[in-house]
Symmetry: C2
Subunit: 323 residues, 2 copies
């Protein structure tokens, strides 16, 4: 209307806000809201969807404080990590399990992200699913940093990895730092050379001072092999080597054993991911896992002290405690 009263926020957001207020705080029906806002009920439905997507509405489920959830307490006691157990019925398929955990993880992650922070992000099927469920949370001056390269002999991987990164960036209104290198180098010397390039070393340096990281776990020999292992990133030789050295998993293409050790794994010298020591130097390390096929893998990551916050499905949570 009047151009004098600057509309600080878009009319859409304004409406979404009122709608949310009326719907969630006053329990009006969408019909009633539509009437008040002079629009159609379906628009209100969409408006509310928008409000949820963009984080205008925040829904929390909080167990009574005096009774933290059983499994989560047990996990903290046993492994010293903060756990978020996502309830999933036992007979759920692995894909649905993954998706449900990723969905919850996306919501939880919103609570960790804040202005002026830098967040390291891995890639893989878990991260991909997670990125698709992110809720918007506008921040200032935050940075998203890719943890490891995604190129392989067949593709540059840029499309795949950057899709994930971009979703993080736009959800949080953050800068995105890509890392356009192969996931695993053929020749360690090439890696060393590239690491001396300023455009690359800049990112490598950023990785060392991250405030938080999010990652899934890769499991090379599990029933459902992870993205890394079927994407042509590794050849038969590499696989044999991994098996020979007792590897049970990886974080950002850096490999470790079930006891948490990672010394003497040659592949790590050729990997583009940050060394486990670098990872351990980061304050908050959020690990998202689902499915029993990752049990061993998860055990290793916990043993290696790579995790500070664990988001996991209830079945796997129970098993890791039982084991």
């Amino acid at each position: 209307m009047s151009p004098f009263k600057a509309a600080q926020l878009s009319p859409k957001t304004r409406d979404a806000l009122t709608a949310a207020q009326l719907y969630y705080l006053q329990d009006l029906t969408m019909d009633a809201i539509a009437h008040e806002l002079h629009t159609s009920r379906s628009s209100v439905s969409r408006l509310l969807g928008h409000a949820r997507e963009t984080g205008l509405v925040e829904i929390q489920v909080r167990s009574p404080l005096d009774m933290p959830r059983q499994l989560e307490g047990d996990i903290r006691a046993t492994f010293g990590v903060t756990a978020h157990v996502v309830p999933v019925p036992d007979q759920t398929s692995d894909v649905e399990r993954l998706d449900r955990v990723a969905l919850s993880a996306a919501r939880i992650l919103g609570g960790f992200v804040d202005s002026n922070m830098s967040l390291g992000v891995a890639w893989g099927s878990t991260m991909s699913a997670l990125s698709r469920h992110l809720l918007a949370k506008p921040t200032h001056n935050a940075t998203i940093v890719q943890l490891n390269g995604a190129a392989n002999p067949r593709t540059t991987g840029i499309l795949y990895a950057s899709e994930i990164l971009q979703r993080f960036g736009s959800a949080y209104g953050a800068n995105v730092q890509q890392f356009p290198v192969p996931a695993v180098f053929d020749d360690p010397a090439t890696k060393a050379a590239l690491w001396r390039e300023r455009s690359i070393s800049r990112v490598v340096e950023m990785q060392k001072t991250l405030d938080a990281i999010v990652f899934g776990l890769g499991s090379p020999f599990a029933g459902v092999p992870s993205h890394v292992y079927i994407g042509g990133y590794l050849d038969d030789n590499d696989f044999a080597q991994l098996r020979a050295t007792g590897v049970v998993g990886d974080i950002a293409t850096v490999f470790y054993r079930e006891d948490g050790s990672s010394d003497g794994i040659p592949l790590n010298d050729r990997s583009s991911g940050p060394s486990l020591d670098v990872l351990r130097g980061i304050a908050r390390r959020v690990c998202v896992v689902s499915g029993e096929s990752k049990l061993q893998t998860l055990r290793g990551a916990l043993a290696a002290g790579l995790v500070t916050d664990l988001i996991v499905d209830s079945g796997t949570a129970r098993q890791i405690l039982a084991g």
Copy 2:
């Protein structure tokens, strides 16, 4: 099942918690949840209702931080109080307006209440509506204190006032301190005598050290007279006196003028409510108002510095700024 694993929370609460998690955090349909919980869909619907009622689920609507809502900002700038403006369309009836404001107020109040605190509560139609919408929030060692008596020549008023108090008590799991005295004494000497009784003075003393209070505003001469003014608490003489001394409203049967002054109002000496000076000594003073008939009344309360947090409908908010 096993008696060894102590069930810390009732199975109902446990189910409600999982259901809430699945519904609000994983966006499952109630049907799907019913299946997972081995019960009927309708039970899940009820379970979720229970979860909301009891505060297991918390829903917040948060305007983007960089743009606090217009009216609320204006009110803070003009009157120096934190405002919560409840959107209500202009042509809404007064009763519905009251109810919607009370509903929102009940939710907001939950954010102010905490363990170990004492909360003073008034009575009246606003407080009655508010009490009916309270959301449960379990706390330890909190106390609810009645601010002013409710007895009048016709009834003891205990039923009416205690109903309100009880709802507060059970919502927050708090002790309730009743105040079984007349709202307004016929003879000031009786009040003085009663105030020397230890059972009464105990409550009077508590009133002086409250952490917070909630109250509506009474408006003696407005189009819709408040509960106090039609309950037989005052006689014609009293009314005449109020009008003569320029009273525009009351908080817990203590009266004030539009400019905020309250000296030379004889009725106040006979009132059971805490003096305005006592009120002003309380850190958080939450005022719930709705409807333009309370405009003058609200103006007086603001002028008197009796309010720190204001919960008000949008129409009245606009008018108080316009005035």
